[in-house]
């Protein structure tokens, strides 16, 4: 699925996936794909600028570890990230309920 089709929902999807458990970029993408039943099979490279942006905005934090002899960046959600995620979740539910009501 092209990232554009997500209509600005990439950031909350990343936050929701990492809120479940800290993850590196590849693991986060796999988890997202798995939880969406394969629907969110994103262009993988473009997720990294979003991860970096969320970290700059203070919604994620990251640390480096060494795994099988190579450096790995692990992302964790922050308190501000949880709060932002909750806001987006509420907004999405209102939107989805309204859509459902209209579609019937």
């Amino acid at each position: 699925m092209p990232n554009d089709a997500l209509g600005g929902q990439l950031d909350p999807l990343i936050l929701a996936t990492i809120a479940e458990e800290p993850a590196h970029g590849y693991a986060m993408l796999q988890r997202l794909k798995q939880r969406s039943g394969g629907t969110f099979d994103l262009a993988e490279g473009t997720v990294y600028p979003a991860l970096h942006r969320l970290e700059r905005d203070g919604l994620l934090t990251s640390s480096w570890s060494t795994e099988s002899g190579r450096r790995r960046r692990i992302y964790r959600i922050t308190k501000a990230g949880h709060s932002a995620l909750e806001t987006r979740r509420t907004e999405w539910r209102i939107f989805a309920n309204a859509m459902e009501a209209v579609f019937g």
């Binding site: 590849y26 262009a43 993988e44 490279g45 600028p49 970096h52 942006r53 795994e67």
Partner: protein, 308 residues
């Protein structure tokens, strides 16, 4: 050339700082090692580098504008202290009582005019950075406007500090030691803060953004002055601003000096200074509307543009 080497080269070509570039490549290297052969799913390295550079340029430009504002705030404290403490230091020494008029007049320009340029351009840079804080990718032209404003503000800040130093040097024999020490310390602290902010700004300016879109102008930053009759004729804003500053300075100086003649002199100098500053720097810092040629754009606002 491997996918990662291409990405590294593209990031370098866009001026992404080596430390950021190396960390991005290291992270993507881990991704590729997780599933060998997945390079094709990562997309075009050039497009990815452009995205990284656009977002990094946006965030660094905003940050440098805010750092510049903080450094200028410290400079303002130094300048204000120099004026507030002068009575306790024996009062104004009188401009003919210094070492040389060659020191006095440049000092006057630094102390009176440079802070006004710094205040206007530094505030506009910070205002734009704050207003657009939620936009992940600003147009390259807008990033250029923010960094230009911050650069001019910082240079004016350096001018202010230089003016203070010249003033202290000119009247070094007239002021007590405590005043010279206090002002020397504060102005050195301001100079260090300005240099630090300028270094951050120069680094931000090396990152090349390719994001399309207009820079906008002062009418986007201050909606109160967005009237069409001002926007369509930039000189009217310059004239109105100079008149307001001139009349304001006349009123304040007349009250402070209890002399209408003194007030008028000060008001005329301030008003002329404002007009000269507007003419010389107006286009660089977005005081002129750059959209008046297109009637449709002239009536639009920057916020109407899609983000990033």
């Amino acid at each position: 050339m491997t996918w990662l080497e291409s990405l590294g080269a593209e990031l370098s070509a866009r001026g992404v700082p080596p430390r950021d570039r190396d960390l991005i490549v290291l992270e993507l290297n881990d991704h590729i090692k997780c599933e060998p052969g997945c390079d094709d799913r990562l997309g075009d390295p050039r497009e990815l580098a452009v995205k990284f550079a656009d977002e990094l340029a946006t965030s660094r430009a905003r940050r440098s504008a805010l750092y510049a504002f903080l450094a200028l705030a410290l400079t303002a404290v130094a300048l204000a202290t120099s004026q507030l403490a002068i009575e306790a230091a024996g009062g104004y020494p009188g401009f003919t009582n210094g070492i040389s008029l060659l020191l006095f007049f440049p000092a006057l320009v630094g102390i009176f005019f440079a802070p006004q340029v710094a205040l206007v351009t530094g505030s506009l840079a910070a205002l734009r950075a704050i207003r657009r804080r939620r936009t992940p990718r600003l147009p390259a032209a807008e990033i250029g406007l923010i960094t230009r404003r911050a650069r001019i503000a910082l240079l004016a800040g350096f001018g202010t500090v230089a003016g203070l130093w010249l003033y202290l040097a000119n009247f070094a024999t007239r002021f007590p030691g405590w005043y010279l020490s206090l002002m020397g310390g504060l102005s050195v602290a301001a100079a260090v803060a300005l240099a630090w902010a300028y270094r951050d700004l120069r680094r931000a300016q090396t990152i090349v953004s390719a994001s399309p879109g207009a820079a906008g102008d002062v009418y986007d930053d201050v909606p109160l002055i967005g009237w069409r009759w001002l926007r369509n004729r930039p000189w009217r804003l310059g004239l109105a601003g100079s008149l307001i500053v001139g009349v304001g300075a006349t009123a304040v100086a007349t009250h402070a000096e209890r002399s209408l003649q003194e007030g008028l002199q000060r008001g005329l100098i301030e008003g002329l200074g404002c007009a000269i500053g507007f003419t010389l720097l107006g286009r660089s810092v977005g005081l002129f509307s750059n959209r008046v040629a297109d009637p449709q754009l002239a009536n639009s606002r920057l916020d109407d543009q899609p983000d990033g």
